[in-house]
Subunit: 143 residues, 2 copies
DNA sequence: CCACATTACTTGCAAAACGCAAGTGAAAAA
DNA sequence: TTTTTCACTTGCGTTTTGCAAGTAATGTGG
């Protein structure tokens, strides 16, 4: 559990408020999604995602997620220009949050990717177990 | 499932993106929390909540939640000044999302109300069933 | 019945966040 | 060695947020 750094003050001690202060914007969870579900790791990959985040916002969000210990950076051993972003344990633990948000919208809004929704709905625990397994062995990539 | 009204365009069809576009701000989920967990129903009660939302933001967020069919308004039979806000089925269905966000922050951030976190952790399904039951019989209030 | 209180807002304005377009510097590729 | 790629930063206009104050409708006490 990280401490709050100097300037930070929470509006309240409520756990939901903490989540909302850290993740409550239009981009942070989409970045997590791209890492968790699509195996994205680089700035360029995030920029290529369908929702078209702006470059400065992406840089800001990555900084923020790292500051909160949700992602970490690694330098690419084979390419000095690249920065690889990876989920930490804290980041992987957001899988149930993402899942419930997908299920909620999948059931109440007109959305695509109903295949994913069906998969999650059919066996939520198996789905979560697979994500955890993928990240436990380092890569975050599908086998 | 509601249709998108004229001016609205989703950045993508991803269900997570839909959730984030509807609920991804610093206040909407706190309002849902106050309704779901504390039985709040009026503008004044929301204003009195610990996080101190501004009056114009509250009005805007309530409008938005109603527009998305997450809450509904009822006029108070005994007091013509009051407007009672209640969760719809779609709103109640956000309970798992709230729960997972509470559990995540409860486990990874320094927060208060660990009693709630423990309760959710110990038997998540029972907790969700109780919330649904409370709202099924109309009131949303604890017995 | 009349003054005052309460409820649910709206309005105005300053500050912060967001988003687009363009630019930069370091490393790799041609 | 020139060009391309990658991960950003900077400038600037627009939108959102947040504070303070105001308003209209309804209810209450004397």
């Amino acid at each position: 559990m990280r401490k709050l750094t100097a300037g930070e003050k929470r509006r309240s001690g409520c756990p939901l408020n903490a989540s909302v202060e850290i993740l409550g914007d239009r981009w942070s969870l989409l970045i997590i999604r791209d890492m968790m579900l699509r195996g994205f790791r680089t700035y360029k990959e995030f920029l290529g995602s369908y929702e078209q985040i702006a470059t400065n916002i992406l840089a800001d969000r990555l900084r923020n997620l790292e500051k909160h210990g949700i992602i970490a950076t690694e330098e690419d051993p084979s390419d000095g220009r690249k920065v690889n972003y990876v989920l930490t344990k804290k980041g992987i633990d957001l899988a149930p949050v993402l899942t419930e948000m997908v299920l909620w919208a999948g059931g109440h809004e007109k959305t695509e990717n109903q295949a994913l929704v069906q998969l999650m709905r059919k066996d939520k625990e198996a789905f979560l177990a697979e994500i955890r397994a993928r990240w436990e062995n380092g890569s975050g990539k599908k086998k």
